[in-house]
């Protein structure tokens, strides 16, 4: 049974439709990440769940109860804001205890709850400080403490890590995940960072222009993106997307791609491609992630379909753990992921392995995935 359920949600500001009919649901204890480029409506969606923005139509229910018309404080949610939104005139303890104070919780009970949260987040030493005396990471913790102390049905996070420096962001990401595992509370988390989405989520919703592009587990989103937008948006470096043509020869289905020199490249697709038999000669977009395009030694030994090909390497980008090689195919720059110590230099021709088990095909007209 779904714990948080959003049905046919629409939101307009005047004539502008920001959310155009969103359907989402997440089970209790799930971690739902809303991801998309800026302006896609993900923060607005979060604000409607919080009750900070009224919805135009549709419904939102939490734990089986429709909350459309409930005040934010009555939805049993807690929110962590991008700017942390700590009350500048109050100490850390007062910030964390403010909600309880408003609800009329007795002082002793309040102090006990604050102390417990402070211990969880290791901010006990900061309780008497003002927010202006804290570092970015500490403010982040206090903001989370303010949410934790409510012990809500759902936590809402609005890009909570975007104001931290790179290292701290990774640390806090792990911490949020650990916190989620320990408490098991349902979380809705907004980010524009697809790595955050992949690492944290149990479910990812990819949004663009107020429309839900795909909703699924991180693995589904990553391995079977619904359309070209999702394929391109998720993953870093992003998926190689190459214009190609379907070739059917007898029972065998393959795709061909133009090369700068020489014969077009013909790649056979496995049995799974049977459905494509009727598409002979049609244009498609061939998608393959950089990690499925490797030097021969790194090729996946369990793969059933591997094609090898000589490619001219244009640029080498060592990233420490891996080395990325840029080459050309079908008139596009494509990126291959090599072992860190692969003996390949820019300007050389190297033999690369295509793991065609991981190959995806998209319809260039509808943008949808067809394989």
């Amino acid at each position: 049974m779904s714990f948080l359920k959003i049905e046919k949600l629409k939101k307009s500001f005047g004539k502008v439709d920001v959310l155009k009919g969103i359907d989402l649901e997440i089970e209790e204890g799930g971690f739902l990440v809303l991801v998309g480029p800026s302006g896609c409506g993900k923060s607005t969606l979060l604000n409607t769940i919080a009750g900070l923005e009224a919805i135009t139509s549709g419904s939102i229910s939490i734990n089986g109860k429709v909350v459309n018309d409930l005040h934010p404080s009555q939805r049993d949610i807690a929110m962590v804001f991008q700017s942390y939104a700590l009350y500048p005139n109050m100490t850390v303890a007062q910030n964390i205890g403010f909600g309880m104070e408003i609800r009329g919780v007795a002082k002793a009970e309040r102090d006990a709850a604050i102390a417990k949260v402070a211990e969880t987040l290791q901010i006990g030493a900061l309780l008497d400080r003002k927010p202006s005396q804290l570092s970015g990471g500490q403010r982040q913790r206090v903001a989370m403490g303010r949410a934790l102390v409510r012990d809500p049905l759902v936590f809402l996070f609005d890009e909570p890590l975007s104001n931290l420096d790179a290292k701290l962001r990774v640390d806090m990401r792990t911490e949020i995940k650990r916190l989620h595992q320990r408490m098991g509370t349902t979380i809705v988390y907004v980010t524009h960072d697809q790595i955050e989405a992949m690492t944290l989520a149990t479910r990812i919703a990819v949004l663009k222009d107020g429309v839900l592009q795909q909703f699924g587990t991180p693995a589904e989103i990553y391995n079977k993106p619904a359309n070209l937008f999702v394929a391109d948006f998720m993953g870093s470096p992003s998926m190689n997307l190459i214009p190609a043509t379907v070739e059917v020869d007898g029972g065998k289905v393959g795709i061909s791609m133009q090369r700068d020199e020489g014969q077009p490249l013909l790649l056979p697709l496995g049995n799974s491609a049977g459905g494509l038999a009727s598409r002979h000669g049609q244009k498609v977009v061939f998608g393959i992630r950089p990690e499925a395009l490797t030097d021969l030694d790194s090729a996946d030994r369990n793969a059933t379909q591997v094609s090898e090909l000589d490619c001219e390497i244009e640029v080498i980008e060592p990233a420490g753990s891996d080395t990325f090689a840029v080459t050309r195919l079908g008139g596009r720059e494509i990126v291959a992921r090599l072992r860190a110590d692969a003996p390949i230099a820019a300007g050389q021709t190297a033999r690369l392995a295509f793991n065609l088990d991981k190959a995806l095909l998209f319809d260039p007209e509808t943008q949808e995935r067809i394989l």
Binding site: L52, P72, M79, Y87, F98
Partner: protein, 295 residues
């Protein structure tokens, strides 16, 4: 870099000259502005006979505080020999509520116009702002009519109301611009914490509003204390402010012109605003800048 090193001494010497010149000009202007205060102060502690000798700038040869005492408690104001004292308290009774009410209402307006936006709020703000530009004289007769209808003509209550209404445009402007820069996420966080409209205002916004409150209070205090037109138009003996009494003191036709008493009275009338500036002037500039830059 290939630029020739500039001799340090030359620069600092040039700089020094400039500094000296700058300070000389500043001091000159300061003296120029302080001269009236000096003349007033010096002549308010001289016997009248000494002023009559004609040298307004000289220090008193005989020091007397009798003119101050007279201006305060026994000088002829109009027909009554009451001194400025009762009018001083009239002013206080008018200024304190008028400043307090207009500041609070302005803060509420600013809070609503920035954090509880509604359809047409910009138009409303524009209209409120427009009231800053309405000349007093235009409003005199309608205001008199309204005060009469309400039965508060000639009372301190009536004057307070007039000043509150007239002050709202400015106080709303100040607070709106200040609160426009106040992070809306704080208000949202407080909403989720369950705080209501007034709780958010009192617990979250007001504690961060000290600079703009100081600006507004100084602005309103100075304007209302110094107001003459409304005071003379709508005030009775029981409600006439200090400014009107000072005018009556200085322009009373009978008898000798007691310049020393007039000077003392004028200083007494100006003293409260002077004190407000000296005490909180620093915040005034800071608050004005905050509102101006971020607004």
């Amino acid at each position: 870099m290939s630029a020739k090193p500039i001799p340090v001494g030359a620069v600092s010497a040039g700089n020094k000259m400039l500094r000296v010149l700058l300070y000389a000009v500043l001091i000159l202007f300061a003296l120029y502005y302080l001269l009236p205060l000096y003349v007033m102060t010096v002549n308010s502690v001289k016997p009248l006979a000494e002023i009559r000798q004609g040298d307004m700038l000289s220090l008193p040869s005989v020091l007397t505080f009798e003119p101050w005492a007279k201006a305060w408690s026994s000088a002829q104001i109009g027909v009554q020999p009451t001194g400025l004292k009762p009018y001083f308290f009239n002013s206080v009774l008018m200024v304190v509520p008028a400043v307090a009410i207009s500041t609070i209402l302005g803060a509420l307006n600013g809070y609503i116009l920035t954090k509880w936006r509604f359809r047409g709020d910009d138009v409303i703000f524009g209209l409120i702002l427009l009231s800053c530009f309405i000349p007093f004289q235009i409003a005199l007769i309608p205001a008199a009519r309204i005060l009469g209808t309400l039965g508060i003509a000639g009372t301190t209550t009536g004057l307070v109301m007039i000043h509150v209404v007239y002050g709202l445009g400015f106080t709303t402007l100040f607070f709106r611009n200040y609160y426009a820069a106040f992070p809306t996420e704080l208000v949202r966080a407080a909403q989720i914490d369950g705080a209501g409209f007034f709780q958010i205002f009192r617990r979250i916004l007001l504690p961060s509003s000290a600079p703009i409150i100081v600006v507004t209070v100084i602005w309103q205090f100075t304007n209302i204390w110094n107001d003459f037109l409304f005071g003379v138009s709508f005030g009775d003996f029981d409600s006439q402010p200090m400014t009107v009494a000072l005018n009556n003191l200085v322009s009373s036709s009978g008898g000798v012109k007691e310049y020393n008493v007039h000077f003392a009275g004028a200083i007494l009338a100006a003293l409260p605003t002077l004190i407000v500036y000296v005490v909180s002037g620093r915040y005034f500039v800071r608050g004005l800048m905050a509102g101006a830059v971020k607004g």
